[in-house]
């Protein structure tokens, strides 16, 4: 065999070392200090994490405080969505409806959560503040279809958000009162 081999002589263990006790005590000290100290982990999923402001979770559709669906199916979000996760079928609001003055609303609205990358561009582009990425972050399912949120699901997830502008209510009252003519 080439090279040099040096044989080291193994030192015999002391009594303390042979009983392992000091080592166990040191270990237990660490364990006990963590057991009674501040908790640093979370009992997920029983204990959900706090969601910070501006968090970008699952995109949802919202209604205004009067229960009117805010989306007018302008399809800007569909256009801006980078992975093409959004699919909208625009529709006409019938003249008999209470919201007839809005004229247009989505007949169907689908967001494919297998495609969505949670970028938030849809929320940013929406001129009606109708689509919001809220705090749902965990999506699961057994089939691909389950990941496609349709209009009904989107409104269930979205709920109601406060609205500062109430643009369409103002529009309606202007229509009712009119501007003096002649």
């Amino acid at each position: 065999m080439p090279g040099k081999t040096k044989v080291l002589e193994r030192k015999p263990l002391s009594i303390a070392e042979r009983t392992y006790l000091p080592q166990i005590v040191t270990g237990l000290k660490t364990t006990l200090s963590n057991l009674f100290g501040k908790t640093v982990t979370r009992e997920y999923p029983e204990q959900p994490p706090p969601i910070p402001d501006g968090y970008r979770g699952v995109p949802t559709l919202v209604k205004d405080p009067n229960g009117r669906e805010k989306c007018v199916s302008c399809q800007l979000c569909e256009f801006v969505c980078p992975p093409k996760a959004i699919r909208i079928t625009p529709g006409l609001i019938e003249e008999e409806s209470e919201d007839a003055h809005v004229e247009k609303g989505p007949e169907e609205f689908e967001i494919n959560m297998l495609r969505c990358i949670y970028c938030g561009l849809c929320q940013e582009v929406c001129p009606e503040e109708a689509i919001w990425l809220q705090n749902i972050y965990s999506v699961s399912g057994y089939t691909r279809e389950e990941f496609i949120n349709n209009k009904q699901t989107l409104y269930e997830l979205g709920g109601t958000l406060p609205d500062e502008h109430l643009k369409w209510d103002k529009k309606k009252s202007a229509e009712d009162e009119g501007n003096p003519h002649h």
Binding site: Q75, P127, A174
Partner: protein, 560 residues
Amino acid sequence: MSDNGDQELVEIFVDDQSVKVPPGINAIEAAKFAGKEIPHYCYHPKLSVVGNCRMCLMEMGTPMRDRETGTPIMEEDGSQKIGWIPKPVIGCSTTISPGMHIKTESNLVKDCQEGVMEFLLVNHPLDCPICDQAGECSLQEFAMDYGRGYSRYTERKNVKPKRTRLGPRVTLDDERCILCSRCIRFGQEIAEEDVLGFIDRGSFSTLACHPNHELDHNYSLNTVDICPVGALTSTDFRFKMRVWFLKETPSICTESSVGTNTLVWSREGKIHRITPRRNDAVNDTWMTDSGREYYKRVEAESRLNQFQINGNTADAGAAIQEAARLLDSGRSAIVASGQQSVEEQYLTKMIADHLNAPVYMARHWEKGDGLLLSEDRMPNTRGALLTQLTTKLPQETLSELGEKMNSGEIDTLLVAGENLIDLGISNEQINKANVLFLGTQSNSTSEEANVLLPGLTVFEKNGSFVNLNFILQKFQQAVPGPAGLIPDIMLLGKLLHRLTGNETPTNINSVWEELSSKYPEFTGISFANIPTEGQELDGANYTQLDFPETKSLKFNPVNS
């Protein structure tokens, strides 16, 4: 530019840049030659000039001359002095003159544009999210390009009627109207149905239809096209799809022999609307309302989308083979059609020649409207003449064919889309004969057909038509056809191959190689080099034929 040489052009200066432009045009058109845009709303190249929107304000000056002697007044540097008009002028009604100077970008012009935009937007609703015009709206575009970018208006906006039904196909939103009067002038000058007008005054001016009238003529949707904003919208297209998703494909309307140039707007294989495409030699910027409905045939219930042999679904190969077997009876005839493209007519002619089969064509003549709907409701009758598929004009009925069927001289028919029942052939005669039907829509003939060869609509294939002025125009595939169908050219080419055993052209380029080598009228043409505005062919050989067309927008009959 004009073919007549440069001497006709006049030199003008747009923002100090010298350009040569044809005489007699206005400053808006002239600025385009310099690559400059003068924003405008009320001006439309095919309508009279009214100058009511003031968006086209610009500065203008002409070379100065001494009033008494007429000698040019010179600057110190030797150039002719320009007499600038102290106030801005409107470009739409400024006809250019030699040496004219115009400024489109000066501070004064910018101020004017910002001011006009601000006034236009004062009472304009915040409707873009629900407005069909968004994406192709001049108000949006010019607000971005020439507006001030913010609003100083805090008062309440005027309220006007929304969602007004003007006619069966047009919906009006008065709040969005900018009172340019294009739609009114179109009714007066082009459609000659003067039903629109303004009522009330000042900022309450409102577009309305005359009482007891409707905007229901067959050109009403052109008002939607020329409305620079979303005031006039198409009821059919309303809220269907955003225009920015739509792909535009140049096509040709098959409604009549006028061959109106169109754009087919589709998204992911679905057609959403058809609009006219400007062609000054054919249809200017207009088209009929009825022609816009043709896209509905693609998904119509009557659409044929399966090859069939004796009523049973078959695959394309088997159906073509069976068709060839039946056609080879030695007693076959062909009922061709002016709906077929030039290429398909050529292949049909090849089949007829090989079989020695007589070719019949039926006329579809109706009343024309003197504008863009001609008497001949076939887009390509002249194509059939040029390809020598037929030598005479289509016949009123097919009684001659009927007689030959009775006498047993003919027992097999290849029918291109026609319904024989309407053309004087009886049910019994059809039942007795072998009928091969090639077409897109079912009718009583297709129901009786032994072999059904479903074709593609004009929106699903490439090809060309020859219009009433012998202008060869091509259409292009906008959407894919139904699964399993093949282009008619391929279908006819394969059928010809089955019959002759020879190699036959099955795509549009190889058909054109043969067309251009065989017919003097088509010499030098290939499908790719047919210009989008069409190519005029020599129709001199056909002047003696008694075509049904009377005078229309761009057509003057030779024989009258």
